[in-house]
């Protein structure tokens, strides 16, 4: 019995699991406050968390070799769904991000958050690293295609995050700094073009308000300004749980989803913020440790890619609510209220745990 139990949960990485649990706990506390003490919301959130943990557990039991072989299939399936969602959107003459299967609705772009790093890692590890030009081009293409499809939805935020998750894998695979630098230069050159041709007005507005949210504090900058006021007024110790005026009196927009960090920052102050950051960094560090200690290139790249991408989510969310990044709809991992993203995250960590299981003890 005991042996069975052990083997049943042996796929779970204890440090990662406890870190996730702690962050989810903090998330529940913050959400209870942010939702205006809405117990129903908390129950729904718990149900989703439960489902997500289940998904994580299942994924953690899939051998990495299987994942590696499935990379191409999953990636292609994701692409098909993206095309599908886009064509439905075109027919329906409106932005379309969701696929509705009747019993569940999900965004295909969420799948890509996992499959793009998998696909990239798979392509890159076919040949010795660092990649040659052809392999590299192939990898870049694998990242670019879904990104373009998602931009068309249009969902710039998610597209950028997916581009980041793929790019991180490519970066870890060791492309030369020369190439990175020249890409950077190209980016700077392309920026005006992107500004004029690709970006929608509301996206431009978000970027403009980033630089000076106070210039339009009641209009486009309202979200950011209220969020900054909330965090700033929290001070070192915070205003206390359920006592944040910015939060409780609904000055913070989207307070239970994208802006939940502002609620947390207002009520728990710098102390709470540091605690949360430490927990996040612990997860990232554990992920990196797994990547460093696993002995196949695919797992190394994937584990590293997923960990760093996770950090990027955290960074982008906190960066946006504290006013150093534009407002792109990125939830705070494990804390924000919201369905699909939490499942995707858990699946990512499930993969990490699956990899961690194979690390040979010293």
């Amino acid at each position: 019995m005991a042996a069975d139990q052990k083997s049943m949960f042996s796929s779970l990485d204890f440090p990662l699991l406890s870190g996730i649990f702690m962050i989810c706990g903090i998330g529940m506390i913050a959400l209870y406050s942010a939702s205006g003490e809405d117990v129903d919301m908390l129950i729904k959130h718990s149900a989703r968390l439960g489902f997500a943990f289940l998904a994580m557990y299942v994924v953690s039991r899939i051998p990495t070799s299987t994942l590696s072989t499935l990379s191409l299939h999953l990636y292609c399936a994701g692409l098909v769904l993206l095309v599908l969602v886009l064509s439905v959107g075109i027919i329906g003459k409106g932005a379309q991000r969701w696929i509705d299967l009747g019993f569940v609705r999900f965004q295909p772009s969420e799948i890509m958050k996992i499959t793009v790093p998998m696909m990239t890692a798979w392509i890159l590890t076919k040949h010795p690293l660092p990649p040659r030009k052809f392999t590299l081009s192939l990898a870049v293409l694998a990242v670019a295609v879904p990104c373009v499809l998602i931009i068309l939805q249009p969902d710039l935020g998610t597209s950028l995050l997916i581009a980041a998750s793929g790019s991180v894998v490519i970066f870890l695979a060791g492309i030369s700094w020369k190439l990175i630098l020249s890409l950077g230069v190209a980016g700077v050159v392309a920026a005006p073009l992107v500004w004029n041709l690709v970006l929608h007005d509301y996206q431009k507005e978000r970027i403009i308000t980033l630089f000076d949210p106070w210039s339009d504090s009641l209009g486009a900058g309202y979200h950011t300004v209220q969020s900054i006021i909330a965090i700033g007024s929290g001070g070192v110790r915070g205003k206390g749980w359920l006592s944040g005026t910015q939060s409780q009196l609904e000055f913070i927009p989207e307070r239970s989803t994208d802006f939940i960090f502002s609620v947390y920052g207002e009520e728990f102050g710098l102390a709470g913020v540091i605690l949360l950051l430490v927990l996040y960094l612990f997860l990232v560090a554990r992920g990196m440790w797994i990547a460093l200690n696993i002995d196949d290139s695919y797992s190394k790249l994937l584990a590293g890619g997923l960990s760093i991408t996770f950090f990027i989510y955290v960074f982008v969310n906190i960066g946006m609510v504290s006013g150093i990044l534009p407002v792109v709809g990125v939830p705070l991992p494990f804390v924000s209220y919201g369905g699909t993203s939490i499942v995707t995250l858990m699946i990512g960590f499930g993969i990490l745990m699956g990899i961690s299981r194979r690390i040979k003890p010293y």
Binding site: L172, A173, G232, G235, Q246, F251, G265, F311
Partner: protein, 627 residues
Amino acid sequence: MRTLNGFENDSGVIHLRYMQALLVIVGLTFLLVARVVYLQIAEHDRFESLSQENHIDEVSLKPVRGLIYDRHNEVLARNVRVFNLEVLPDRIRDMSALLNELSHAVELTPDEIGQFKTTLKSRPSFERQILKTNLDEEEAAIFSVNQHRFPGVELNVHLQRNYPHGNLTAHVVGHVGRISPQDRETVSQRGDYSGISHIGKIGIESHYESMLKGQPGRSQVEMNAHGRIIRHLSQTLPDTGRALHLSLDIKLQEESMKALEGYEGAVVAIEPKTGEVLAMASVPTFDPNLFVNGISRAKFSELNTSSRRPLFNRSIYGQYAPGSTIKGFMSLVGIENGYSHDRRVFCPGWFSLPNNSRRYRCWKKTGHGYVDGNSAIEQSCDVYYYNLAVRIGIDRIHEGMSRFGFGQKTGIDLPNERSGLMPSRDWKQRARQQSWFPGDTVNVGIGQGYMLMTPLQLASVTATLANRGKSVTPRLLRMTENSVSQQLEPHIVPDKEKIELKDGRSYDAVIEGMRRVVYGNRGTARRLQEEILYDMAGKTGTAQVVGIGQDETYDEESTPKEHRDHSLFVGFAPLQDPRIAIAVIVEHGGSGSQVAAPIARRLIDYYLIERLKMYARPETPSSGKEA
């Protein structure tokens, strides 16, 4: 599958990159921490105060407007609870659909919807707007049950100004109305209006606005992002405005209105001793309650364009030729200037100036024969006064009449009273760029020509006469009351000096003439003496509205109504200790003795007998209904 060797090689590459990535992560984390430290430590004070400003707000607490009473504590203006349907425009996605839906639950007239839509366009969308006022209990109940279907629509209870005597007091008490954009410009100088939505527009409500309005209170509240009040933090309560006790006797006012029913005209009754206005009626009138929350366009235009001019307060804005009613004063000015009251003048029925063929007619074509001062007043002989006026001359007439207040505002506590007109050489030169002709003087002698007076002025000078020269400032406010402590404070008006004449007996001489108007055998108002219980003095007046040619005769029957004479009467009673002085004007009523005089008698009767109970009507034999 690639070899282990290949992996070792890969591993080296990846590990190097990991170290670099780690550096970036540490760097970015440091950036985040730095940002949060900046916000929460370095700039904490600033954001702390910003968050305070965000949710702590001061709201004004509307004061209750002071009540208005008549002299017997009858309420003339009060505040009643009303249900208003209010809309928060920025909470509503589809206004037309909402109005459509709402009209099933609450009756909405096209007028109300139209007015509401007009306001919506001109006001910011975060400002709540009234859709319908004065819902009755049933409508309010029906809406309350269905309220959940109409987010953004609220049923609110307000105190609304209400005038229980409606049209009886429309002109005098006046009414309040919503503060208009024009009002807003002056409101800041008139004190604190925060939270106050209505302001006195006309009448007493306007004149004593600053006493009535009260002082707004303040409440510090916690508000959420949508402006909804979560809780009150601290409060200073508003002060209720002062209550006003007017001198008006609403019963006499009502009787005056009744007496004038069907006519256009005015009655002003004053207590001579104090100058307190007992009644001030202007007919036709209107319902002031219509104006409190904004009158509909159609209704206003109906009132405003009516040929009977119900919105026009004739008692202080109407300026009429006083006609013969001022003959008593003309006599006083005459006596004062050496024109003896006993002098006898022969009236052949007409008068003409030397070297001028134009005849100025006496109202009695056959003439009065020889008349002295008393019989001239009694019979209202025009020729006597033509003669008197020409003898004294316009300059002395102007000076003498001005002493009694002719051509000057009375100083009543109502806004914008008119001053009437006591013509003079100067005035004619200034206003008409013409010199004064002797014929002008003739007309002034009988209160015609350029001379104009308001009904209030007529009543006021009559009070002066009743007081034997002691003039008073007519006024409506007797006392003010602290609405909380109910402490009364008399409203003091500075005394006027008695108008001293060279011969102190002149007043009584003229009053004797005016007594004979009622009691003399030939008195123009001798009909009034029937069954009269007290002594009174009076003077009829019949004022020409259009000039009559030299050879025409005036025939009332054949004259179109708007050209008929105005009918006037002034009088006071009782003779020795006057309690009431009255002026009655009936526009186009014809002769003063036939229309205005009986109205005056009826009102004096009513006041002295029914109100003051100074006299008792003789028992009339019962009509024996049981028979």
